[in-house]
Structure formats: C-alpha cells, structure tokens
C-alpha cells in the first residue's frame, strides 16, 4: 500500500482576531458581534490549520448613486435611493453579514453633503439594521477627518470598522477610531512592504493590533487581479512564518469588478450583461477568498449568494 504523506506545514504564526460590532453586553446596539481572522493555515486547507471564523460578506451601500450599474439597480429596485432601505434589503433579503456604507456623497464631485449629514445617514443605518457596520469616507482626507470624527462619536459603542488609513493619511482617522474603540482598515497599494508599513505606523500611533483589518487593494478580474492575488498570498505566508505586523485579517472590496469594462460592456452573445458582470464579481471574490480574504465587500446580491454557496462547499463536508 502506498501512503501519501500529508504535507502539513508547522507554521509558527497565526492570524489575530478582530471583533466587529458590539452587542448590548458591550454597550452597543448590534444583535450580533462578528469575529474575523484567527486562521492557522493557508485558506481552506483543513489538513493544515483551522479557520474558526468563516469569511464574512459585507453588502455595499452608497449614499449617493450617480454611477450605479443597471443590473444592481434592478436587483435592489427603489431601495438604492435610500441607504436605509438599501441596507435593510441587504440584511433581510440577501443575508449580508455586515453592511458597508460608503459616504461618497461628501465628495465635492458628488453631492457635496456635509459631514453632519453623512454622520446622520450612518446613524439611521445603525438604527435600521442590527449587523456590524463598515464605514468608508469619500477618500478626500480633510473631508473624511471631519466625517469620521462625527461618525465615531454618534456610534461610540458600536465597534464600527472605519476605512481607510494610508501611509500618507492616517493620523486623523486613527485618532477618530481610537477615541471610541472602533476598528480601522489599513490600506496599501499592492505591495507587501507597504502593507506592513502602514500597520507599523498605526500601531506606533497607538492603534491596537486587534483593531486592524488590512486592505492590500483587490484589483478586479482583468484589472490586475493577479497582482492582488499574489500580494495576498505573500502576506499570508509571511504572517504564518511569524511576521507579527502582517498577522491581521484581510478585507477585499470586489465592487470594482463592476467598473471593469469587459464585465459590463455590451459584446455580442446571447447572455445578458447582468449574468456576465455577476460572474465577474463572483470570480474576483473567489480569487480573493482563495488568496486569504476574511471579509469581502460586495456589490451584487446575486454574486454574494453564489460566493456564500462556494464558501459552504469549500468548508463543508468531505
């Protein structure tokens, strides 16, 4: 009888755990707090390590929708005109684990809403749904500084995940996060050294490691996915080999798949654009999972449902 040796790695490191959302017990109003991270081996290899927390799916909600693709509009219907209804649809109808609200309206290029209005939106979403919440700004540093300060305070006990900090702009957002024990997303640009660098900056600044989730930039399928895929694999390998500054959960935003021209442009063929674009995001998300993602921010409910089934199949029975 031949026996195949099982090539189990003896990793010295493991991924840390981050808790998102706070229940009444901790002063919050969520009905559930979710844990992410804690893996002890490469993704989905049960012979190598454990993955105690299955990857989470965050449904994307925008507070201003100048650019939303038609198939997404039709999946949500009227709800896309109101972040609260949109978030509810994600949770009640499509089973999202988390809501990711992007406050793009605060950008002068969008509706140019005030940080106060934006914070008010976050408050309403927090009241409407009881899952943990991720909050993004509009990406303009001065604006986001003010927005995050307000958001941090109105949701002081909710353990939000706030995004994102970059090596060139992290102090104000880190301060806002730390003020009320929220968690923070550390963003870097497809480079393992930069990914480590921003985590070092944040922890030096005083952010606790169990409050950091890292975003190494998930490029969509056909838009540089291979770079993201490999950077994430390298980050994970380095983390397991013992690099403490990389031992944090990974978050990947796959909504950019809908910006890939090939996903949504009308090329001849019997299938609708919706079908192709759905699989474009699904493929991007699956690649993210296989490379190590702990949280996916997704745009399409259909794609998220497929990804959820894929996750079950990847973790389920033998």
């Amino acid at each position: 009888m031949v026996e195949v040796p099982i090539p189990k790695e003896k990793w010295s490191g493991k991924i840390g755990e981050v808790t998102l959302g706070a229940t009444a017990e901790n002063g919050g109003t969520r009905t559930i707090a979710l844990r992410t991270g804690s893996e002890t081996g490469m993704p989905f290899l049960s012979y190598e390590g454990v993955m105690p927390n299955r990857p989470l799916i965050a449904g994307e909600v925008l507070d201003s929708i100048s650019e939303l693709p038609a198939p997404i509009r039709s999946e949500f219907g009227e709800a896309v005109n109101d972040p609260v209804a949109w978030a509810r649809a994600w949770v009640d109808k499509f089973g999202a684990d988390i809501i990711c609200i992007k406050l793009v309206s605060t950008s002068p290029d969008e509706a140019n809403r005030s940080p106060h209005e934006a914070a008010e939106t976050v408050k309403r979403v927090l009241e409407a749904v009881k899952v943990p919440i991720i909050v993004y700004g509009c990406g303009i540093e001065e604006r986001d500084a003010k927005t995050f300060e307000l958001v941090s305070n109105i949701a002081s006990k909710e353990r939000l995940l706030i995004g994102h900090a970059e090596d060139t702009a992290y102090k104000s957002i880190a301060a806002a996060t730390m003020a009320n024990h929220h968690a923070i997303i550390s963003f870097s640009n497809l480079d393992i050294n930069l990914a480590k660098q921003i985590n070092i900056l944040l922890t030096d600044f005083g952010v606790k490691k169990d409050a950091i989730v890292m975003d190494p930039l998930m490029a969509a399928l056909g838009m540089g996915l291979e770079y993201s895929y490999s950077v994430m694999e390298r980050i994970r390998l380095a983390a397991f080999m013992g690099d403490g500054m990389l031992q944090v959960p990974l978050i990947c935003d796959t909504s950019a798949s809908w910006k890939a021209k090939e996903a949504t442009e009308d090329i001849p063929g019997p299938d609708g654009i919706a079908e192709r674009a759905t699989w474009w995001e699904t493929t991007t998300a699956l690649a993210a999972l296989i490379a190590g993602a702990d949280i996916l921010i997704m745009r399409s409910p259909r794609a998220s449902a497929i990804v959820r089934r894929a996750m079950e199949d990847l973790t389920g029975g033998d």
């Binding site: 040796p5 063929g269 079908e275 699989w279 033998d318």
Partner: protein, 441 residues
Amino acid sequence: MPTAIEIFKLLPKKNCGKCNYPTCLAFAMQIANSKAKLQDCPFLSEEALAVLAASAAPPIRLVKFGSGNKVIEMGDETELYRHEKRFFHPTAYALTVSDALDDSAIAQKVERIANIKFERVGQELRFDAIAVKNDSSDAKRFKEAAEAVAAKTDLPIVLVSRSPESMKAAAGAISIRRPLLFGANATNHVQMAAVAKDLNCPLVVSEGKGLDALANLVQLVKSSGIEDIVLDFEAGSMKQLLERSSIVRKVSVKKTFRGLGYPILVDAGSGEPAILKGLLATMKYGSIVLFDELSEARAHPLFVLRQNIYTDPQVPIQVKPGVYPVNAPNESSAVLFTTNFSLTYFTVLSDIEKSKVPIWLLVVDTEGLSVMTAFSAGKLTPESVNACLEASGVKEKSKSGEIIIPGMVSRMSGKLAEATGLKVIVGPKESSGIPKFLKSR
C-alpha cells in the same frame, strides 16, 4: 533535481576528465545546473544512470495529448505559488459532446464550441479541447461519434468512457490525434491500461476514495507500462478539490514524493457548481477541466482568470512602443498617447476604433505599467512622452499641432505643452468616454 553532492555520490569517481570536466565533482556541479548531460560520462553504471535520470525528471510529469500544432501540454509545474516564479502550462478547458446526439447535432455542437471566443490583450481566448462522452454505452456509436468530432475539428480530443471495449473502438479510430483517454478506475484499469498502452495514448486514472487509494491505482497502472498518466480525484466538493490538489502539488514539488506527480483533470459537470470548480482548478493546480456546457457569460470571466493567473509575475504583457495609425489617419489627424501596458493599449485602441475617428496613437514605453501606476512610479512624465514623440517620428505624420492625453494625467498638461510645443487636450478619464469625446470634437 538532486543536488551536486547527491549526483557526485553516484559517479565513478575516477576523475579521468573524459566528460570534459577535470573532476567528477566538477561534472556533478555542471549536471546540477543543467549545463552538462549524464551521458557525457562513459563510465556511469546503468543503475546510476537510471537513478539519476529518474530523480532529475520533473516533479510533475509533462503529459501531452492532441496532434499537429494543436497539442495540449499539461503538468511540468514547479511552484506552489505563482509569485515564486510562475505557472507554466495554463489550465485547458474542454466542452463535452455526447455520443447520444446524432451526427448532425454533434457537428452543430462542435461548431458552436469553435465559435466561442474572446479577444483580449491581443490574445484569443477559446476552448482548448473537446470531450466526447460515451453516453450511449455503445462501442460502435462511440467510435462513430469520435470520428464525427475528429472530422469536424482539429482541437485535441478527450474520450470519456468507462468501457474498455468502447474506448478501444473510438481511440483506435482516431489514434493519430492522440486523444486523452478518460479513463481507468478501480474496476476497469487492467483493460483500460492495455488500450492506452496499445495506442500510446495518455490515460486518466480516477479514484474518489482519497489520495492513498489513487496513488495505489496509479502505481498499478504505471507498472503495466503507462507513463503518461493524468489524475482525477472525482472530487464531490470544492473542499475536496482544493485540498487534494494542494496536497498533490506540494508533495510532488516540495517533498519529492513521486507517486502522484502527474497533471490533474477535473470533470466539472454542469451548472453553477461546474463553473465554481473550474475557477478553483484554474487557481489551484488543475491542468484540464471538462464542462458539460458553459455559457459565454460564464466562460468569459473564467478565461480571463486563467490569463491573469498564468501571466509571468515579473513581466506584464506589453506592446511595442511607437506610433500606430488607427482608422486611417492623415496629416490633419490628431495624436493621442497611452502606455505600453497591453491592457491599457488594447482598451484604448478598441475605443478609438469604435469612434471611427482617424488618430495617430502614440504608445509610450512605461515598462508595461498602466497610466496611473506609471505616473506615480515616475515612468510617465512630460519628458518621457516627449522623448517618445520625437523618436516615433509622429510629428512628421501629424501636423495637427495637438496631443490628446489621458484624463487621469491632466496634471501634466502644462509641462507637456512646454516640452512638446503642442497644444495639450485632456481626454476623458475612462477610455469608454473616448468615442463620444472624439466624435464631438
């Protein structure tokens, strides 16, 4: 590949120099670096030769099927992760044709398969093979169907049957196409191996009971004289597929376990589970995936994923810098620049073509980086654009006095105007805006 010391131990240690190296050790070092051939030492024993040849063989055997210029190469991979070097032989995709169809339906399906193709960054993406399935369980019908498919396409063929009799009939009829035989399992392997050996065709060995059982079956098949083996785990779930593929790849390339050092086939079936398995196999070590059917909308992202995963991490796909005429430009046509990253170039090219507006398209050497990546890496500057402008001779071709630049780098307008003496016109940020932009000028 064994180390120099391991090789040295098996050499005659005469230090006679007949191999053209002064000592046996020097010779061993050259072998280890693939710079010398074992045969150059005339004193090597048969036994040592066999040992060395076997251990120098690639950890995962290269298995080929198909004929002429349509040969699919599978296996011969050396890495666990693409960043370590690269993956070499892209996963092949096959669509299935059933022998329960009549010949005209078969011809139609083969034609449909041949017509599914996508153009992308200058490459054509399409199915690589056709699998003929013996659904009829009839040997004569299977043979006819195989012949009908072979007559209709030059794509490599996978023959799918568990009946050695059917396999013998069909494979025998198209053996010059060197089909992949799928295949052997615990019950039929003796006869299947005989067919494969007879016709010199590669053979898929299926075993769903786990890797130990598969390795045993492979050993039996191998001992009957078959070298070109392909593995099938009969994986029921993505979990099984991922874990078994990962174990096989790792024990083969990292632990020099030879018993499963063969390419992997995935019979994905149909529907959502099939495409998910196909995507997974593309990322994690699958060499060939069979689909019962696959719509364009699902095939397209799958093909693009393969292209992404199998690019060389060290070299982005690039196009040659210089000036390209689009839509038959003349002296009054404007110049438009972009980068030599193939994705950027082909996206912009197709949008200019769509506009039907004649343009001189200047491709600046950014070492294969996209517009913003090159810009922030300092590889797309007013100076580099100007240098390319001068070197390309486009100033003689276009007297329009204008240059259209990507919207994303509007910041370089002023400096670029200074450097080139041309009027700088900022185009849209997304190339999808190009047709409207050019037409409205």
